[in-house]
Structures are given as C-alpha cells and as structure tokens.
C-alpha cells in the first residue's frame, strides 16, 4: 500500500480512537485529497473527555512538523497514547485545530504533500 495513504489512515485512526475512548455517540470523518495537501476533519458528537485531556491533545497536535522523525517513526502512530502517538501525529501534520464545545469535538488537521 502507498505509504502516504497508510500515514493518513494512521492519523485518522489516532483521532477516532481519541474520540471513541470518550464514548463518542457518532464520529464523522472527512478526508480531502487536494493538490497540495490532505485536509482531515474529525467531528465527534457527545464526547466525554476532560478539558485537560483535550487541552493536552491540542498542545500535542501543535507539535511542529518534523519530517525526519516522521520518516522513521510513523509506523508507531495509530494506537492512541496521550504523550507519544498523538505527539507523533503532531509531527506528521502542518496545521492543527481542536474545538471542544458542549461535548462536541472537532479536530481539523492539514498535512502538506
């Protein structure tokens, strides 16, 4: 399988797992494959996560893009660990936005090609 596709699915898996661990009632995933980037939207309804864990998620996802670390470690992404795999997703993305209001979680990630 194309490595880039694998990376995208691992990133999505990581985010969906985060939402599902909060007993999400419904999770919608949108993946846009544009010319210059992948745009990922994860929209989860009725997620039961603490503000602290969401803030932690936001901070980790905002880790600067690190192509060298990604090249080596990307296969570790996808298991959901609050401090390692999510930080790795951060290193694999160029823009991250996390909104958590009324138990609804919206995660937007951009990954430039």
């Amino acid at each position: 399988m194309n490595v880039e596709v694998k990376k995208i699915t691992k990133i999505v898996s990581e985010m969906v797992t985060f939402a599902m661990l909060g007993d999400a009632e419904k999770v919608d995933v949108s993946i846009e494959n544009n010319n210059d980037m992948f745009k990922l939207l994860i929209n989860a309804r009725n997620v039961n996560r603490t503000n602290e864990s969401v803030n932690n998620l936001r901070e980790l996802l905002n880790a600067p893009r690190q192509r060298a670390a990604e090249e080596y470690y990307w296969e570790l992404a996808g298991d959901n660990d609050m401090t390692t795999e999510i930080a790795l997703v951060g290193m694999m993305t160029d823009h991250a936005k996390v909104i958590y209001e009324d138990n609804n979680l919206l995660i937007e990630l951009h990954r430039y090609k």
Partner: protein, 423 residues
C-alpha cells in the same frame, strides 16, 4: 498555515540550540591539544582508522586520549554542520543522534568508517524521491554498523584495494536498506526500545557475520580498554553535565524544576521529545541530571572510566532529550546492578557498567509498566547483552540495543497481559 505555539515555556532560537549542542565537541577539540601535541593527534587518528573497530575497541587506548577526543570532536562537529546546513529543528531526535555519535566516536566510529552508511542513506533518499533531510538522522544512528567496513575488507584481504572497495560498497548497501528495516522493526517492540537502530543493526550484523563465517572468516572479538585517564574523564564529564544544568537553569526562567513534572510523568516511549514537551532549558537540565546519575553508577560500581563508558554516558545524556529521565531509568539500571551481584560477571567490569548505562534503552518499560517491570527488564538485559554479541561478532556497536530490542519485543506483550487484566 503554520501551527500555533501553545507551550508555556521559554522559546530558544535554533542558533542558540546549535551553539549549546556544540559545546561538548568544541571542548573536546580544545582539550585534545592540551593532552596531546599535533603530531600525536595525527598519528593517533591514523592508528584509530587502520585498526579493527569491532566491540570493544577503546580509541583512547588505540590512538591516545588526544586522538580519541579529536575523533569525537570532528565527527560530532561535521554532523552538527550537516544538520545546520539542512535547516534542522534541533529537537530530541537529532540531539540523541549527535550525542550517540559523540559517544561512540570513543569506541568504534571514526572519521573514516562512517561515511558509506551516509552515502547509502543519501542514495535511499534519492531513490525514494525524498530529501536527505528526512533520512540523515537515521543514517547517523546507522553508523552503529561502521565496524563492518573494516571486517568485510579484512575478510576479502586487508592489503587488497578491491577488498576495501567492496567493503565500502557493502557499507553503502547497508546504509541504503537500514532506514526501511529500522522503521519496520519498530512495530516489533512498539516503541519500548529507544535504541531501535541497534535492534535493526543486530539483525543485519548477524546476517552479514554469519555469511562471512560460512566462507571461513574468523571473527576476532576484542577487549581493548584504557585505564590511564580515569580522573581526567570523570572531571571533564562532571563539568560538562553541571554546565548543561546551569545553562538549562537560565533558559528555563531561572528554575531547576519548572516543567520537570511533564518529563517525569511521561513513559519515555518513542516518540517523546522533551524539547517540545517541557522546553529546551528543562531538557538540558534533565540531560545534565541523567549524566550525573550515570556517572554516579560508575562510581558506585567502582568502575574505571574509559572510551566505552564515556560512550555510554554520552548516549544517556543524548537520550535524556528523547525519553530518558530519572524515574524511568533508575529501575532498569538497578535491575542490571542486582543482576551483576548474582550473576557471573563482576559489578565493576566495563562490560557490566556499559550494560547498565545502555540498559536505559528499556526505560519506557519502567515508565509504562512501573519500577518492578523496569528492574526485571534490567535484570534480564545483562544476561542477554552478554550473549548476543557473538551473533554479529561485534560489528554492531549498539549490541545493547540489539539486546534491549529482543527483551522489549518479548516483555511488552507479557506485561500487557497483566495491564489489560487490571483495566
């Protein structure tokens, strides 16, 4: 669109980071001229280059202290220059690679034998249509297999130019395939072995050595260790570790512990970059503290400082930016220490001390599953690391990484059984 900076710690410019990381090699460079004259250094470097490099070959003994310091300084500074030219972000990943280079340049990596691995990595990047920037750090780690160059040349014929050419070609081939192999093997232990390239290099080295032996090659393990510079090395490294803490203190808003909880609460499992998690200043403090803990272990074990022990200490310091901290390392080291009392090897022997220092590659096990699991991992590690070297004949400098990879691969699913039950 770029990312927001949500961190609360003080930001440090990349230039400042590069300058700080250059302190050790620059100090080594200067000290080389204090302990040896120019001719001694040049002759020593020549001896280092022409001797076999398999485990354990202490360059301080082979070429003299000045030459060993110079070898480490040059190799580290060249790599820092590469990273600078490639506009690298100086995070935990490159820092750990630079310190492992600096450390192993005291036993096994020299200014001649590492380059085929880099060329292989460069060709891999070209073949994959990637920039070398995303491969270079793996190549830096991959120099674990540098002793292979001399051994392959020796197998074909030490006085034969074709033998050397073939050995360099073999090094390039290994450097080419190492990145995908190392990346693939991460899945075996799930990021619980920090020296993953050592794990990969162990497999590669085993295949290469087995192949050579099947044609009649006689592998000659070495045990060349220096004892003459114990005090000098202890003082030099102590000063460096204290300096890291002092610089870190000033970069961490004049605080020794601001943000340390974040580091201490992390498991250390790959990928944990402390420079991002707690800031560059706090990371330097942790690096200094881990260096002192490593040095304390050497003192407690009544060990004599030499090249391999310096290598072990510098590796701990480097990875203290990328997963290692006192809470997850001490249990593993304790496990090795207990093992050394009850097993057939002496507590103060260099091989046991470096086993303890490098055992901290298993620190994520203690970080994730607790101190008892860490002690067990360390206890097992001493037995395994003392016995796997024969497989690759010492051409994998990260023999301990090979051992810790095997242990993590076996222990993690076993520990998970109990963890899942408790969940």
């Amino acid at each position: 669109m770029t990312k927001e900076n949500l961190s609360s710690y003080k930001q440090v410019s990349e230039k400042t980071k590069f300058i700080i990381i250059s302190i050790f090699p620059v100090a080594s460079f200067i000290l080389a001229f204090f302990v040896s004259d120019f001719n001694e250094i040049i002759n020593g470097l020549y001896k280092i280059i022409i001797q076999p490099d398999v485990l354990i070959t202490d360059y301080i003994k082979v070429g003299g202290l000045g030459a060993a310091l110079m070898n480490s300084a040059l190799l580290t500074l060249i790599n820092i220059f590469f990273l600078w030219r490639l506009n690298f972000h100086m995070g935990g990943f490159p820092i750990s690679a630079l310190f492992i280079i600096a450390g192993f340049a005291f036993f096994g990596k020299n200014i001649f034998n590492v380059w085929p691995i880099y060329i292989g990595g460069y060709l891999y990047a070209k073949q994959q249509k990637k920039r070398f920037r995303s491969i270079i750090v793996i190549s830096m780690f991959g120099t674990a297999l540098s002793p292979m160059i001399f051994e392959v040349a020796r197998a074909i014929g030490p006085s034969n130019h074709w033998g050397l050419a073939f050995a360099i070609l073999a090094g390039i081939v290994v450097g080419f395939f190492l990145p995908p192999i190392a990346s693939h093997l991460l899945r075996a232990h799930d990021g619980y072995n920090l020296y993953n390239v050592g794990f990969a290099a162990g497999f590669i080295g085993t295949v290469i050595m087995s192949f050579m032996k099947s044609y009649g090659f006689i592998n000659e393990p070495r045990m060349i260790l220096s004892t003459e510079h114990d005090l000098f090395l202890k003082v030099f490294l102590s000063m460096f570790f204290i300096l890291l803490i002092v610089i870190g203190y000033f970069l961490n808003d004049k605080s020794l512990f601001k943000g340390y909880t974040k580091i201490l609460n992390s498991s250390g499992k790959l990928v944990t970059d402390f420079t991002f998690l707690a800031g560059f200043g706090m990371t330097l403090i942790n690096m200094g503290i881990m260096g002192i803990i490593g040095l304390a272990y050497v003192f407690i074990s009544k060990g004599v400082m030499n090249g391999p022990i310096v290598g072990g200490l510098l590796t701990i310091v480097g990875f203290a930016s990328f997963g290692k901290h006192p809470k997850n390392c001490i249990p593993v080291m304790l496990g090795v220490f207990i093992a050394s009392i009850f097993k057939v090897w002496g507590t103060s022997s260099t091989t046991v001390i470096i086993a303890a220092l490098f055992s901290t590659s298993l620190c994520p096990i203690a970080g994730e599953y607790g101190a008892i699991a860490g002690i067990i991992a360390g206890f097992i590690h001493l037995s395994v690391t003392m016995n796997v070297g024969v497989l690759h004949g010492g051409i994998n400098l990260y023999n301990n990484g090979f051992s810790t990879g095997i242990i993590a691969t076996l222990l993690v699913p076993m520990l998970d059984v109990f963890k899942r039950r408790n969940e």
